[in-house]
Symmetry: C2
Subunit: 401 residues, 2 copies
């Protein structure tokens, strides 16, 4: 340990928080471990053949795509996204309103860089995706936490909490929401609340970050319109991702927003990574252009619906009745679990002994909480492993009762 | 223009500076324009066939490389880099001392995130690469500027300037240097100054960022050891890149450093982009593993040496004698030009009229200056275009004399 570095670290570095999901990667990779931890897609459904087929674009466009690319993204991919999202967005989003990012987590990173001074506040669902909020925290943001029920964020609670923070001289900048199949809770923001959220944001002069990696993966019920499509004031920044509908190894995401904020985010991106990997963008583009994305999507939905059902069946079969509460999500990747008596810390340790992993609830709460809650991802493990893993989890629970 | 965003921007966003190189991309792309502006490799030398060949790794490792990757990088690529850099570094750099980044500009970004609080200082060569210093500036850094001569940074000037800043209560965190074929000046830090720089840094308790994208592209003379290889205190962070020796479209770079600082940078990277594109990393790895990198490197060196020579010949042929001063670089991508009387602003406008582009000197100086200097990149344009472009530049100069 070099003494010098301790003297040189920034305040952000001293206070930085690591992602517990990233940190338990080494635990997850232990031989024999069944993982319900990371929100990882099923590698068995990765379109390996089709993605390799798409690499042909290197032959055709190599001189262009091996070169530096535009910071705002590979133009053909931007055009594709404008077309592909047209129905959902209710219009063709223009190039000036769009930025291709290195995964959709970079949308939050660049928006936070563009809006947050140290100590400024973000309104967020609680619990919410810790990967994003840890980055926001590392940028100096603090949080106003709003709980969720099965219809999503309790939007009505926002104004009072924001006013209270403002009365203390705090600056509140934007509302962070995962409206569809929220991570980790699995809930979806109802139509009524979507309208209300936009209205509240407008009245309070707040922007909205609509983080939507799961929106295309709905098993049951009707699609609801994105907040971005309902916004006529330019206050919503929409974040999309190829991670869950194609492959996270591409690290290609995108955002839509008012040209003013897109411009600020683009200039920060110049210095952060110049552009998203042009190679990755081009392969994703070619994959989409060939129609593979549209062909894969129904298969992904069907596959993950089955996995959700297998997990729910296993819950009923193996978990001690009355000890644990959960709701079937209508889409996405996760079950959110609440125990009646067993503390999550103890359950986690016992489960790891039995070679089954999940993510503890606590880090999903920016202001603490969640010591009897945890997140279970059903997409990654095979059908057999879901059954076996939940069986082990049930055993762990019984030993702790 | 949404009024709201103006109220929401962070201080960094309000003050943010865009990269003039990125900004003139649209000028460069005008039909008929000959560009000596961006530091872009020659697309004619991109190994399109071999890189496509390397995409076979998608077939072989698809399930792994389409998945989320480790934040610190694709393990096989890290192992390759440890081996490949062994001779230059004098030892095998361990995995804990290494982070794969989204281009080497991200090394500077993450190091700055890890060390700079708003208003802290970085010691830098002046002029220096504006892409990096703009990002540092956007993170709130300010600069202590050290001039260069043909032997690189005037290292002896550092202590007094640092002490002066410290006497005013400023925190100085690290020294930023491009030791080989410096961008934009083309100079290389001499062996004596390398030793002195390490000594000065140690005495002043400063870290060093050694940014070395051009180190492998030497035309003449002897290689000098990297600062990282000479450092036994763990204060040097070395940044390397595949952009100039393979292809910038991959956005794959790396850094070596003390495990303490690598760890901080890795945790920030979790939130910034989770990991560098695994697809990009895997293709680069496969390309290297097959021996293509080692086979290409001598060709790149030979090709760019010829281009430098063609540019120098054209300078002698076309530029008005006595009006412009320059030195042949021993490697890298750039000539740095000083005019006797013509202001660079006027020359730039006249040149653009004549369809030839370069980068003005001024933005390379973090504290101003350079109004009679400019940067010429010889790697991108074809041999014919170098001759024709310099001819146009000479005409532009003559019209302004």
């Amino acid at each position: 340990m070099s003494e010098l570095w301790n003297k040189l670290f920034s305040d952000a570095a001293v206070k930085q928080k690591a992602s517990p999901i990233r940190e338990i990667m080494s635990v997850i990779r232990q031989p024999g471990m069944i993982s319900f931890a990371g929100g990882m897609p099923d590698p068995e459904i990765f379109p390996v053949k089709e993605f390799y087929d798409s690499a042909e674009i290197i032959k055709r466009e190599g001189k262009d795509i091996l070169q530096y690319g535009n910071t705002d993204g590979y133009a053909p991919l931007k055009e594709f996204l404008s077309e592909w999202t047209q129905e959902r967005m209710g219009r063709k989003v223009s190039s000036r309103e769009m930025l291709i990012t290195s995964g959709s987590i970079q949308v939050a990173d660049l928006l936070t860089f563009s809006t947050i001074d140290k100590g400024d506040y973000i309104v967020t669902e609680s619990p919410t995706f810790l990967g994003t909020t840890l980055d926001m925290y590392n940028h100096g943001a603090r949080f106003i936490c709003i709980p969720c029920d099965h219809q999503g964020m309790l939007v009505d609670l926002i104004p009072e909490k924001v006013e209270k923070a403002r009365a203390k001289g705090k600056k509140v900048k934007y509302i962070y929401t995962i409206p569809n199949f929220q991570n980790p809770v699995g809930c979806t923001l109802s139509m009524e609340r979507r309208k209300k959220l936009l209205q509240v944001a407008e009245e309070l002069e707040l922007a909205i970050l609509e983080d939507d990696p799961y929106g295309y993966i709905r098993f049951d019920g009707e699609d609801l319109p994105p907040l971005f499509s309902m916004d006529n004031k330019g206050i919503v920044v929409f974040g999309g991702s190829f991670s869950k509908i194609l492959a996270p190894g591409t690290r290609v995401g995108w955002c839509f927003g008012d040209p003013d904020i897109i411009r600020k985010m683009t200039v920060f991106k110049q210095g952060v990574d110049t552009s998203t990997s042009v190679i990755s963008q081009a392969l994703v583009y070619e994959y989409c252009r060939k129609g593979y994305l549209d062909a894969l999507l129904p298969k992904i939905i069907d596959h993950y619906r089955k996995k959700r059902d297998v997990m729910e069946t296993a819950f009923r079969k193996y978990l001690p009745q009355g000890e644990v509460e959960y709701n079937a999500p209508e889409g996405g990747f996760f079950y959110w679990m609440k125990t009646a008596g067993i503390p999550t810390d103890e359950l986690f340790n016992k489960s790891i002994e039995k070679k089954v992993a999940f993510v503890k609830g606590e880090p999903f709460f920016p202001e603490g909480g969640g010591d009897h809650e945890f997140r279970m991802c059903y997409t990654f493990a095979s059908f057999e492993m879901i059954d076996e893993g939940v069986k082990r989890l049930g055993e762990a629970m019984r030993e702790l009762l």
